[in-house]
């Protein structure tokens, strides 16, 4: 399937038409009309180029000249899963391989009264009202070509609804596995999480790769956090160097809700994460932690938005990066404080260590504040390793590589300790220790 100089846009548009013709009644449903509109918008927008302000440092030219198989073919077995999954992370575990939901590999342990979990396609049939009310309402397909493209192909992915007042004990874990062992593959998972009033749940999205062929993942997650709800959301990326990942997580928060997230990008050829939080309630708190570890020619870009629309809420953000090889990193953190959002507290910090002279980090904090009674702070640092600390450790007999690894590990621990699921912490620590060895 890999061919040089393919035009991905044309291929996808043709693919859409082919799929549409193969549909029976579905083509006439309102849901499919949404898809069709999104495709039209995608055709207008096209893939972004570096001329687009939001894509200045992240060039998708290699992504769009490759062909990918979106049919979901794969040969992943339960045994294969065992080798790559996050050890000891149990709960409601859902597997998507090359985009397709794999019921046989998946386990749902929580009772249906506590949480409904089903593939999005199934929810179109069984939960039409919820789909109608929530789907595609918050993720911005008007301006973001990738989101429009994802909406146009929406169908694979997960629907989760937590009824009001329910505390979901077992975490919800979604694995998105690219099986690129035989050919280039693509997937466009679309998730919709609706968390009711005063409910509580933990989500983890893990992106992993098998094999060395090219892979493209274009993921969108829309998440509603109801009044007084508590949500944790972890995104773990450990893809191959031949993976292009573009992902958007769009969060909408209601009064008194808590949203707590960590994004750990351990590996991947090209990663662009958009984490957009609209704080549309009072007395909310939103936390965003991030860790990225690019090496070789990898590119990792984190764009975040904390959009304060109501008074008396707080957002807090800490992203940290360790860059090696010829890698590049991007951090763009937007804080919007709308006119009504008085008494907002918004804090942002991005710290980077560049370990190689050929690695580059681009940081851009972007604060737009229209309210006058707010507390906002931001800071970014990009530097080399602290030589004084390195010398201190070496003067105690610790070899240079070991001292380096100790310091870098400590630098990352700041973010890792924020993750409240122990098996994920252990997994991250293991991989980072391996990378630093």
């Amino acid at each position: 399937m890999t061919t040089e100089n393919i035009d991905l846009k044309e291929t996808l548009v043709a693919d859409f038409k082919r799929r549409e013709q193969a549909m029976n009644g579905e083509a006439k449903t309102p849901f499919h009309q949404t898809r069709r509109q999104a495709l039209a918008r995608f055709e207008e927008l096209g893939f972004p180029t570096p001329k687009h302000e939001e894509w200045k440092y992240s060039n998708v030219r290699n992504l769009v000249k490759t062909g990918y198989g979106f049919e979901g073919k794969h040969s992943v077995s339960a045994a294969t899963i065992e080798e790559i999954k996050i050890p000891n992370l149990s709960g409601n575990v859902l597997y998507f391989v090359n985009g397709k939901y794999e019921a046989e590999l998946s386990t749902i342990v929580s009772p249906a009264s506590e949480i409904s979990i089903m593939p999005l396609r199934e929810a179109l049939e069984k939960q039409p009202e919820a789909i109608n009310q929530y789907f595609g309402k918050i993720a911005d397909g008007e301006n973001n070509a990738f989101t429009a493209l994802n909406t146009a192909f929406a169908g694979d992915g997960l629907f989760v609804r937590v009824p009001d007042g329910k505390v979901v004990e077992a975490p919800v874990v979604l694995y998105f596995i690219s099986d690129a062992r035989t050919e280039s593959v693509g997937a466009q998972p679309r998730n919709l999480f609706v968390v009711g009033k005063n409910a509580q749940v933990q989500f983890t999205e893990a992106f992993l790769t098998l094999g060395e062929s090219a892979a493209f993942t274009n993921a969108v997650t829309e998440m509603y956090v109801g009044r007084d709800a508590h949500v944790q959301y972890y995104k773990v990326q450990n893809d191959s160097d031949n993976v292009h990942h573009v992902g958007t997580t769009q969060v909408q928060m209601q009064d008194n809700s808590h949203f707590y997230s960590a994004t750990a990008s351990l590996n991947g050829g090209f990663i662009r994460n958009n984490l957009n939080i609209v704080i549309d309630g009072e007395h909310c708190d939103a936390h965003m932690f991030g860790l990225y570890f690019p090496d070789a020619r990898q590119h990792i870009d984190n764009h975040t938005v904390a959009d304060h629309r109501k008074p008396n809420s707080e957002s807090n953000e800490l992203y940290k990066g360790v860059l090696r090889g010829q890698s590049t990193g991007v951090f763009n953190g937007k804080i919007f404080v709308q006119q009504d959002a008085q008494k907002t507290n918004a804090f942002q910090s991005c710290k980077n260590v560049v370990l190689s002279p050929d690695a580059t980090m681009n940081t851009k904090p972007q604060l737009e504040i229209w309210a006058d009674d707010v507390k906002c702070s931001h800071g970014t640092t990009t530097g080399q390793l602290d030589d004084e600390a390195l010398f201190y450790l070496r003067s105690r007999g610790i070899s240079k590589p070991e001292a380096l690894s100790l310091l870098m590990f400590a630098f990352c621990e700041d973010v890792i300790t924020q993750i409240k699921i122990e098996p994920i912490r252990t997994y991250l620590e293991g991989i980072i220790a391996e990378k630093l060895a």
Binding site: Y392, S395, R396, G397, I398, S399, K400, L406, F409
Partner: protein, 253 residues
């Protein structure tokens, strides 16, 4: 044990040490004194292997080895310990974990296997008791949020754990009140032995009330201009450094 011969060193092209000669034998305590900017701390840094300093000529022999050829970690493993004037805060690395790494790295250098966790803990607790270091500091990030006294005591504690042959205390007394000073000095004295040597770099004489030196050297403009016994330190305390400066400048003129 240590033989420094005509040592010259500079930083960013500026010569700081201009021909240091010093011999330290096992069991001895040497005090290096001198006015600010005389090169005291530079000497300590060069011996420990700080890479910003360039040694332009001279030699340093430590137990038959050319010290200047060794990386800082190798010098440490050979038995040199520098107690820092400003111990570095390292967030995220606990003191205990740091020490365990240090001990095992040094053992590896000497071709020994790592200590098991129980052995290590027992040893560390013993040493903490010896220098009256509070156990609770062990679990905290290295020096992070420690008071000045706690940081200096942590240096002496590390020295107790790592058991160097030659300890270099770089202005360990600076910023300490008299109680903290006494505790630090007690720690150093406890660790003294006929096989080990100590170099104390200090501006003031008061630490020498508690750690009595065998020799006192005055460093001025990058050279040792006067050597004597502990009486010299008392004389300096009383008369300051000006008479030394005058003596040196007079000799040149």
């Amino acid at each position: 044990m240590l033989k420094i011969n005509n040592l010259h060193a500079s930083i960013e092209g500026k010569e700081i040490l201009r021909g240091i000669n010093l011999e330290v034998k096992p069991g001895e305590v040497h005090a290096i004194m001198g006015p600010n900017g005389s090169g005291k701390s530079t000497l300590a840094s060069v011996l420990a292997g700080r890479e910003e300093y360039e040694v332009t000529s001279g030699s340093v022999d430590f137990e038959g080895k050319n010290l200047l050829e060794l990386a800082p970690e190798a010098r440490a493993a050979e038995g040199i310990f520098l107690a820092f004037q400003y111990p570095v805060e390292i967030p995220g690395v606990t003191t205990i974990n740091f020490l365990k790494t240090a001990v095992n790295e040094m053992r590896k250098y000497r071709g020994e296997g790592p200590l098991d966790a129980a052995q290590f803990l027992r040893m560390v607790r013993e040493k903490a008791k010896l220098v009256k270091m509070n156990d609770s500091l062990l679990k905290r990030a290295l020096n992070e949020g420690f008071s000045g006294g706690e940081k200096k005591r942590n240096e002496i504690f590390q020295m107790a754990v790592l058991e160097p042959k030659l300890a270099i205390l770089d202005e360990t007394d600076s910023g300490l009140d008299i109680d903290a000073l006494r505790i630090v000095a007690e720690g150093v004295n406890t660790l003294r032995s006929p096989e080990k040597a100590t170099i104390i770099v200090t501006h003031y004489q008061r630490l020498l009330d508690y750690i009595v030196p065998d020799y006192v050297h005055v460093l001025y403009k990058g050279r040792i201009v006067k050597s004597g016994n502990k009486e010299l330190a008392l004389e300096l305390e009383e008369k300051g450094y000006d008479w030394i400066k005058e003596e040196v400048e007079g000799a040149i003129a």
